[in-house]
């Protein structure tokens, strides 16, 4: 043996293996273990799915009672035919995991505040935020409640077992791509993970208050209540509510009474300043459209129901299409990987769709503790013991973080002396949120999947608590309906819009609105129901709905305008309606701009842009330059009007809604905020502001034009981003129009996440599309294959067939058989 060369080469081999087997720092994140990742027999090459892969196989598993047949159609949509419901949910879990395992687990890492475990310390602020908000606590509460419901417990258990059966069947080289990239392993699925995921949806759809309430408090303290009330009003002049104006409501069974001292400590006088900001805020445009038209307005004489929920656009998509067929029900629609049942869809008898209610169900209470140990807090004139809940955040390649959360009468203490911001006087803020008080949301979908008629629908949604939704409904028998359902707080005016005093029970919630008093309408004379996140009712509804800024106005106006004008409707007409790019906001705002412009004072370039604006047809089409010009001028106008009023505030303030400025201007007269308060010698008028905005916008527009970004679609630049925000795994620069105030509410990274149209003829005619693909594997051709259709406004006809028919259908490509064994 040649000792020296041997030792050198052995050490070199070991050293190289060591380096290639280690995650190395790479920018803000870490590289995969390069040797492992590139190994063709173990690493990512194994995830390169052959484009002609067959999905046909027989799977032997222990957890099912009878044979289950799954037919995969050409779009890789599974159609599950099982003889018992539990077998169906078991297989649903298995199939979800087979195609979406990484995503479904990752989402629960986010919801449960565990991102640091896989991504390292860079994400610990998100983890802390979710832990302190009570996400895990809430999921535990829900699980305890659901465990008392044997049917639901069995459902969730069967689903979990199915997921785990898949995970167990995985060979090491078969784990999804992202595990290899981030270098971790899938862990066992549990029912708690399903509830964590549902908590995440609650957060996404009702969590904006976590930030808004703090900012609104800052704004109220900064401006004083009167001015605040003009900047953040509670009315919309142009509101077209979900429940048509003039509808009579039940007499309220609860009349919440404002505390006697509400005017001084709460609404105005004593500064209650807080600067707390949060790590992660739900997208403000989380919303949706749904509508159902009665047979009186359709060609067939049967109802048509449409729904397009607007969420963040991600890959893998939040939705997964499937059909579940058992002796108790035959249901098709979009499901959540991570949860049993179909969430938005239809069955043999009915169809349903949801939009977000946007009601405020999250409040802060300012609690006083005896000392920083947080063991006792002052409540109703005495010290009361607070339990401390410990949450441990594990950190990849780092030390554990511990969150000690005081649990009070009001809920978990979100902000305390450990978890705070720059604020000089840290407050102890407890969060009261309907989402972390035990709900049973899953049961609603379970029942909707099986609903046969209006009564079943009523019964299914009756117990739905959070997130509050507008449930649209249509049945083959000809009924249409919509109901805003959720556990809604019976509030006095402005209750919970700001941080509330938490020294006693005075400011606590006085009750929840009884379910039968929630806004609802069935078979209205006008022949349709609709919702687009606008306020549910006009002011004749006896309960406070929350600040108007939570409720977008314009999509609802357009939907109702179009539906009123449409007759002899077909499902194809509805496809065009969901893709409608007409901007009602621009239609109302342009005259205000044009009226206040003196063209003689504009340069040639400025006049050119005003010309483009004047010639624009209010459609946010891909090539519409008018849409870009309009947005530039409007955004500049908001800056010109508000900036001087807001710039001196030390704390973060919410920006007023566009509708607030527009409606202020439409009311006419002198607009007090038009004056620039930093110019002492001059009082600016709205004409001055519009001229200034126009000049500012022109500079910006010229720049855009040089960069060839004047076309609306280019400027908006819609993308569908991978959950890890890696551009290589995302689809960028998608050719699609629309905007936040269009029915086609597609913005940069947000928009219609599932478009569905269900025509309730004897043989159901249904269409759907979502911006993604059925496979979560970036190495599959089914990863993003719906995106181009989605962007182009094309739909797929949904295969909704009996087992016999689907097994013979030419669009059925593969057959997975599950047998007990």
């Amino acid at each position: 043996m040649r000792i020296v060369p041997f030792i050198i080469s052995t050490v070199a081999t070991a050293g190289l293996v060591f380096v290639l087997n280690t995650s190395l720092p790479l920018g803000k994140t870490k590289s995969p273990r390069l040797g492992y990742f590139l190994s063709p027999q173990q690493g990512f090459w194994q995830n390169a799915e052959a484009t002609n892969s067959s999905f046909t196989e027989e799977i032997k598993i222990k957890g099912i009672r009878n044979k289950v047949d799954v037919f995969m159609d050409e779009r890789l949509v599974p159609h599950i035919y099982a003889q018992t419901d539990l077998d169906a949910y078991y297989v649903q879990g298995f199939i979800h995991a087979k195609f979406r395992l990484w995503q479904m687990e990752f989402q629960t890492y986010v919801a449960g505040g565990r991102l640091s475990e896989i991504l390292g310390s860079g994400k610990s602020d998100i983890d802390q935020f979710f832990r302190r908000l009570g996400m895990v606590y809430g999921a535990e509460q829900t699980m305890q409640r659901m465990e008392k419901d044997r049917e639901m417990q069995a459902t969730v258990d069967a689903y979990s077992e199915g997921v785990n059966a898949y995970i167990k069947s995985l060979k090491p080289e078969q784990i999804p791509f992202e595990y290899k990239l981030l270098d971790y392993q899938p862990e066992a699925w549990t029912p708690l993970k399903t509830y964590l995921f549902l908590m995440y949806m609650s957060y996404d759809l009702t969590g904006s208050g976590a930030k808004a309430d703090l900012k609104m408090t800052n704004a109220k303290n900064y401006f004083g209540y009167d001015e605040f009330n003009q900047l953040f009003p509670n009315i919309h002049d142009s509101l077209d509510p979900i429940i048509p104006k003039g509808t009579a409501f039940l007499k309220p069974s609860i009349v919440p009474v404002a505390p006697k001292d509400v005017d001084s400590p709460y609404l105005n006088k004593s500064p209650n300043s807080s600067e707390v900001t949060t790590a992660l805020t739900p997208n403000k445009n989380n919303g949706s459209n749904n509508w159902a038209v009665a047979g009186s307005k359709t060609v067939s004489g049967r109802p048509i129901l449409c729904n397009d929920p607007h969420l963040g656009l991600n890959l893998p998509s939040i939705w997964y299409e499937m059909q579940i067929n058992t002796p108790t029900h035959n249901t098709y629609g979009a499901s959540f990987p991570g949860s049993p049942a179909v969430i938005i869809g239809f069955n043999d008898s009915i169809a349903w769709g949801v939009t977000n209610a946007g009601r405020d169900v999250l409040d802060y209470y300012d609690v006083q503790f005896k000392d920083t140990s947080m063991q006792e807090y002052w409540y109703n004139g005495a010290w009361k013991t607070a339990e401390l809940r410990t949450e441990t955040i594990k950190v990849k390649a780092g030390t554990d973080l511990h969150e000690y959360i005081a649990m009070t009468e009001f809920g978990p203490v979100m902000y305390d002396h450990h978890y705070k911001n720059d604020s000089a006087h840290p407050k102890y803020l407890a969060v009261r949120w309907t989402a972390n008080t035990a709900g049973n949301g899953l049961k609603t979908f379970y029942k909707l999947n099986r609903a046969k008629n209006f009564e079943d629908y009523q019964n299914a949604i009756a117990e739905w608590s959070c997130p509050g939704q507008n449930f649209a409904f249509a049945s083959k028998s000809g009924d249409i309906a919509i109901r805003q359902q959720g556990a809604f707080v019976a509030r006095w005016n402005r209750q919970g819009d700001f941080i509330m005093p938490g020294l006693d029970s005075t400011y606590k919630w006085q009750g929840m609105i009884p379910e039968n008093e929630n806004p609802m309408i069935k078979n209205p004379a006008r022949g349709w129901v609709s919702s687009a996140n606008q306020m549910a009712t006009d002011s004749s509804y006896p309960y406070y709905l929350g600040t108007a800024r939570s409720f977008p106005l314009y999509r609802g106006i357009m939907i109702n305008r179009r539906l009123a004008a449409m007759n002899d409707i077909t499902a194809i007409d509805m496809q065009y309606l969901q893709m409608e790019n007409y901007d009602v906001f621009a239609e109302m705002a342009r005259p205000v701009i044009l009226k206040n412009i003196d063209e003689n004072k504009l340069t040639v370039t400025e006049r050119k842009y005003i010309g483009i604006l004047r010639d624009w047809n209010f459609r946010n089409e891909i090539t519409a330059q008018g849409a870009t010009v309009f947005k530039a001028i409007w955004d500049s106008l908001e800056q010109v009007v508000w900036k001087d009023d807001f710039q001196d505030a030390k704390n973060p303030l919410p920006w007023p809604e566009s509708s607030t400025l527009l409606e202020g201007l439409l009311r006419g007269g002198i607009y007090r905020f038009a004056d620039n308060i930093s110019t002492k010698d001059k009082v600016e008028t709205i004409q001055d502001d519009v001229m200034e905005a126009c000049k500012k916008a022109s500079v910006y527009l010229e720049k855009l034009e040089k960069e060839r970004k004047l076309d609306w679609g280019t400027l908006k630049d819609t993308r569908v981003a991978h959950l890890l925000q890696l551009p290589a795994l995302s689809r960028l620069h998608l050719p699609i129009g629309g905007g936040k105030d269009c029915i086609n509410a597609t913005t940069e990274n947000h928009g219609p996440s599932w478009r569905m149209i269900v025509h309730l003829t004897d043989e159901i005619e249904a269409y759907g599309v979502y911006p993604g693909g059925q496979s979560g594997n970036p190495g599959s051709k089914f990863y993003d294959n719906f995106i181009d259709s989605w962007a182009a406004g094309k739909y797929y006809k949904l295969l909704f067939l009996s087992k016999d028919d689907i097994s013979k259908n030419q669009k059925t490509k593969w057959h997975i058989t599950f047998v007990n064994g």
């Binding site: 590139l38 027999q41 390169a48 060979k171």
Partner: protein, 115 residues
């Protein structure tokens, strides 16, 4: 003759040991070492056959997967890395990494024997 048999053996055993996917990805270090120990060549030659054997194995296996996949995944990975989306570069690097480790192990195998 020795060179080509060492090369083929390295590739063959590297593939065979790689089928045990619950063993570490670098298990072929052992087979490449043993091949060089058994089929004795000078260190530089041993490195070359060890390198080439594993290089060809990994590059070929990667290419087979990649072609069947129409480069869908390799182009994405080659953007993450970043290799400008070139699947060829990615296949090359895959082969190089396997080859380097194997070649070094082969030198160790070659030098482990008396002359």
């Amino acid at each position: 003759m020795k060179f080509s048999s060492a090369l083929i053996l390295t590739a063959f055993l590297g593939y065979a040991i790689g089928l045990f996917t619950n063993m570490p990805w670098w298990s072929f270090v052992i087979s490449s070492f043993l091949v060089a120990l058994g089929v004795h060549q000078k260190p530089l030659k041993a490195f070359a056959s060890g390198f080439l054997g594993q290089f060809l194995l990994w590059a070929t296996l990667a290419s087979i997967k990649d072609m069947a996949n129409d480069h869908l995944l390799s182009i994405k990975v080659a953007k993450i890395f970043p290799l400008g989306g070139s699947y060829w570069a990615l296949i090359l690097i895959t082969g190089l990494i396997g080859g380097l480790v194997s070649g070094l192990a082969a030198i160790a195998g070659s030098t482990a024997r008396k002359k």
